[in-house]
Amino acid sequence: MTATIGRHAQAAARASDVWKVYGSGEAQVVALRGVSAEFERGQFTAIMGPSGSGKSTLMHCLAGLDSVTRGTVSIGETTVTGLGDAGLTNLRRDKVGFIFQQFNLLPTLTAKENILLPMSIAGRRPDPAWYDTVIDTVGLRDRLDHRPAQLSGGQQQRVACARALVARPEVIFADEPTGNLDSRSGAEVLNFLRNSVREHGQTIVMVTHDPTAAAYADRVVFLADGQIVSELIEPTADTVLDTMKKLDTPVITEVGN
């Protein structure tokens, strides 16, 4: 039943035979059933699938936010599975960046402070040239001293993207980063993410429901019922939509080796 895709030496994140079981007995939910996947360095991967298929769970496990029931997860050279809290914190500090659907920013800090927060927490100084590049790419230079409450939702998400990028993590995980945005702001954010992959070699894994959003990615991985069921390289909104329609039918296309 194991599906494995994208065997490359250059994996930024890797899951091998990951199982995730919530609860026990009657209330037991198997969210992931032996997922194996590699996320290539410098690639923009989208994870798609019906609601409840285990997308968020997979992402959380990959990012070290949640523990796996079975199998191993690694980020770069680091094996995530088995790390304690301090190890996980270090991993998140140095190797991982996050963009959540909402509530990405501390309301007490300005945009600039929010962007620099992970670095200040880790006691690192940003590379000024890179910082400038990031700020210019997100186009927020005139908004740096504003607090989140004074920014639009799209601007807030762009600040969150900048925050994730500025530390140059091994991989950035984004869970429906455009889920709360209108199509225009969404497009801004997605363009920005794609550019950071194309131009700066950033690795990004993004969960989304939106075929248009998925079309920005280099590759789309489809999950259903806790398993990887399909994959698309160089997707377009149409091919994504097609694949999803297929997945909705009871016959599940199994993607072998």
Partner: protein
């Protein structure tokens, strides 16, 4: 609505526990005070009823000078022994016994130290045989004048046994005298003491000489009525037979009167405790108000939804108030229970440590129950009222908005705070300048209360700048910076949490300022006016200070190197018909020398037996000047004596305002000096003379010779004790404030779960998370302490200024104490942060992000 309230109450039980705990503690204090004083009161009733059980009627001479309970034990004056015969001759008297019974018989233990008593008297009496109450335990009755028996508790305390030679000090002999202990006695029911009283029983002649100072006298006659004669009837007959010089009371009256005095003291004690309870409750009110405000803010969406689906504003208020009532009710019940426990515990401790008081059964007076519920529920509801009103004003649209708690401007709050503070200041000004008449105390307390509330209302205004300044101290680290930002986030919440701490700290600081100022003023005055290098005196442990043989003064004067000695006696007397505090000196001339006194009028010389010197204020009060006469009646004087004023002395250069010759001292309650000031000749050192003076008082183990610095310290040590007691009582208010900090932080942590999750997600370590919360707590608590110190120092300084005319001339700001308070506040912050910080650090990152 009711069910919804109940459900939401249960859902937030943890949040309400802490604020409920504040009410529990306050109510515990209130009901504990009632239970304690009630139990002690009934115990004393039992003690006195027991002590006077065998007496039908008691005859005593009318005291020349009435004494309050607060000033010491009433001394029943001695009367001639033949009164017993006159009593016996009255029809209806079956038996009349002459009794000597007076406070001031102190046994010297086997370790050479005087057995002291804190409170219960140390009676010296004549042995009148066994009775229903008194039973010999060991040995026999005293037969010779150098034989004594003591009660079993005293024998145990002194570690002496029958057959030992033991020393004792008596009311009229401050020098040690040795006796043979020939027996010990106990009381009915196998008790070793009644109410902690120590008793030494002598033969009648010895008791008369040592305890009354005159042979052939008694100070009461106990009477048994013949069969068929009621005590009341016999009392009336005896009153008629003996005339107006005697007080005749039934045993029952005697016991009620004796208990009444103590109960007055207990009632006062109760008021003091209730005062401190009120402070604790005030702080608790702040805490509850804050909790409900936060809860309402956090429930904004929920409440708005209820409004949107049709709940009226009044229903919303009702639901919040109902919640408060439930919390108040539960807290009152728990507080009452805890109060009964604490009251019982304290009563037990009092009975055990303050001298073997047999406790009457534990009682819960109605006042304890009524006040527990009234106070607990009222406080909670009053505190919840403001948040309830705010809840009712939440518009239904808030349900649809994301963040519905914008920072409202502080203008109205600030104006209200300024007005309330001004009212408080005005009340204080009126009270402290003595323009409030009888209501002075209430006006001052009202002023303090208004000031506190006013400052609390103003606190949000200061909180921004002060908190950011304080927080700046921690801004060097990221967690510190985040903590600082968080503490400045809800000015109201920070402010009220800090204000709760302010109350306790302000009161402690204020009291410290007042007491330190008084202490310094007294010490300063003593140091600048009294040119004496050594002082002979004893530390006071009972109702009266220890005294010594007047001959010591003469002998001290003869010691080489001593320039001048003055011995001082003191008492209350009736001067020209009014009660007044008087002193008698062995030598006014010596006092003049020691105080460098120059008479304002008249001359300073050793007073003749019919001369008196007055201070300027004493002369003014009595309306006398040099050459005028006045009459004085002393506690043990036969009749009034007449004196001529020979000198009027400046107030600050006189030992008292009415200064009498030493012959008058012999008629005082304690006919011996309690202090002697010794001036040395220039060039003589203290160490040359001190040992010789110490040898002079070697027979008076309670009396010692101290140099001036030590003496001043002894004199002012009472202030330190008082301060410690006040600090202990205020500690509860501070504990409640700490609960408040914990509560606020816990609620904030809960409220910021997502934020914490985010921070953890982007790499904040557990330790850093905890540090962030700790910084927030420390900033809040130091802010509160800072407010408290400023407000307290201000209040204290105001009181000190108002007392300038009473002799408190120095204003001492206790900087080191203030430093300690601030340091302590930081520590309090760290402690208060512990639980919320751990909770924050444990937050599950995933759960927090998904949190809604």
């Amino acid at each position: 609505m009711f069910r919804a309230t109940l459900k939401s109450l249960l859902a937030r039980k943890v949040r309400l526990i802490l604020s409920g705990l504040a009410v529990v503690l306050g109510v515990m204090f209130v009901s504990g005070a009632f239970v304690l004083t009630d139990t002690l009161g009934r115990s004393f009733d039992a003690v006195f009823a027991d002590a006077y059980a065998g007496i039908d009627v008691n005859v005593a001479a009318k005291p020349k000078i009435a004494v309050d309970e607060a000033e010491g034990e009433q001394v029943a004056p001695a009367f001639p022994a033949d009164v017993v015969g006159r009593v016996r001759a009255v029809p209806g008297v079956a038996e009349a016994t002459g009794v000597v019974n007076a406070d001031g018989a102190r046994l010297i233990g086997s370790n050479g130290k005087v057995v002291t008593s804190f409170g219960p008297p140390q009676l010296g009496e004549n042995w009148t045989g066994e009775s229903d109450l008194v039973k010999l335990r060991e040995g026999r009755a005293p037969q010779a004048d150098d034989e004594i028996v003591v009660n079993a508790a005293l024998a145990t305390a002194a570690k002496v046994k029958v057959g030992d030679r033991v020393g004792a000090l008596t009311a009229f002999e401050s020098k040690r005298r040795d006796f043979t202990l020939v027996g010990t006695f106990g009381y009915s029911g196998g008790r070793d003491s009644v109410g902690g009283v120590n008793e030494i029983a002598f033969t009648t002649p010895a008791a008369q000489r040592l305890m009354l100072g005159k042979p052939d006298t008694f100070n009461s006659v106990t009477v048994r009525a013949a069969a068929g004669v009621t005590p009341e009837a016999l009392r009336d007959d005896l009153t008629r037979a003996l005339g107006p010089g005697y007080e005749v009371k039934t045993g029952e009256q005697l016991s009620t009167d004796a208990a009444a005095g103590l109960k007055e003291g207990l009632a006062f004690f109760n008021k003091v405790l209730l005062g401190f309870a009120a402070v604790a409750l005030l702080v608790g009110t702040f805490l509850i108000l804050n909790t409900f405000s936060i809860i309402v803010a956090q429930r904004t969406r929920e409440l708005a939804l209820m409004r949107a689906i049709g709940a009226s504003g009044r229903q919303i208020i009702g639901s919040v108030v109902l919640e408060a009532l439930a919390v108040g009710l539960i807290a009152s019940v728990l507080g009452l229970g805890a109060g009964i426990g604490v009251g019982a515990l304290l009563a037990w401790a009092f009975g055990t440590f303050a001298g073997g008081l047999t406790l009457a059964g534990l009682g819960v007076p109605p006042a304890a129950v009524v006040s527990a519920f009234a106070v607990g529920m009222l406080i909670t509801v009053v505190a919840a009222l403001l948040p309830a009103l705010r809840a009712a004003r939440i518009p239904p649209i808030a349900a649809m908005q994301d963040v519905a708690t914008p920072d409202r401007p502080l203008t109205r709050l600030t104006v209200a705070g300024a007005v309330v503070t001004a009212v408080g200041g005005a009340l204080l000004a009126v009270g402290l300048t003595g323009n409030a008449g009888d209501a002075t105390l209430s006006v001052i307390l009202g002023g303090v209360l208004f000031t506190f509330i006013g400052v609390a209302l103003l606190t949000p205004l200061f909180s921004r700048p002060v908190v950011s300044l304080l927080g700046g101290l921690f801004a060097w680290s990221v967690p510190g910076r985040l903590g600082r930002l968080n503490s400045g986030r809800n000015p109201r919440r920070t402010a009220i949490t800090a204000a709760a701490l302010m109350v306790g700290i302000a009161l402690v600081t204020g009291v410290t300022v007042i007491l330190d100022s008084a202490k310094s003023s007294i010490a300063g005055r003593a140091a600048s006016t009294v040119d004496a290098q050594l002082v002979i005196s004893g530390a006071q442990t009972g109702p009266r200070p220890p005294v010594f043989d007047p001959a010591v003064v003469d002998r001290a004067a003869a010691v080489p190197g001593v320039n001048a000695v003055v011995g001082v006696y003191n008492d209350n007397a009736i001067v020209d018909g009014d009660r007044a505090y008087v002193v008698a000196l062995t030598d006014l001339a010596a006092m003049g020398q020691i105080y460098h006194t120059t008479a304002q009028s008249g001359t300073i010389a050793t007073l003749r037996p019919d001369q008196v010197a007055l201070s300027v204020s004493g002369a003014k009060e009595l309306g006398k000047s040099v050459g005028d006469r006045l009459t004085a009646q002393f506690a043990r004087g036969e009749g009034p004596r007449t004196y001529t004023v020979t000198a009027v002395l400046p107030d600050d250069r006189a030992i008292g305002s009415i200064i009498l010759p030493k012959q008058a001292g012999a008629e005082f309650t304690s006919p011996q000096p309690f202090t002697a000031l010794v001036q040395l000749t220039p060039g003589t050192t203290v160490s040359q003379v001190q040992p010789q003076l110490e040898a002079l008082v070697a027979d008076s183990p309670e009396v010692s010779v101290a140099d001036r610095a030590t003496f001043i310290e002894q004199q002012t040590s009472g202030f330190d004790t008082l301060l410690t007691m006040i600090q202990i009582l205020l500690a509860l208010a501070i504990v409640i404030a700490v609960l408040g900090i914990i509560n606020t932080l816990a609620l904030s942590v809960l409220e910021r779960t997502r934020e914490l999750g985010l921070l953890r997600a982007i790499g904040l370590r557990r330790a850093q998370t905890m540090r962030m919360i700790t910084v927030e707590a420390v900033v809040i608590s130091v802010f509160g302490a800072l407010l408290g110190v400023v407000v307290g120092a201000g209040l204290g300084a105001a009181v000190v200024r108002a007392l300038k005319d009473e002799g408190i001339t120095d204003l001492v700001l206790p900087w080191s104490q203030i430093g300690i308070f601030l340091g302590l506040a930081a520590l309090i912050g760290v402690v208060a942060a512990a639980l919320p910080a751990i909770r924050a650090a444990r937050i599950n990152v995933l759960g927090a992000i998904a949190h809604d």
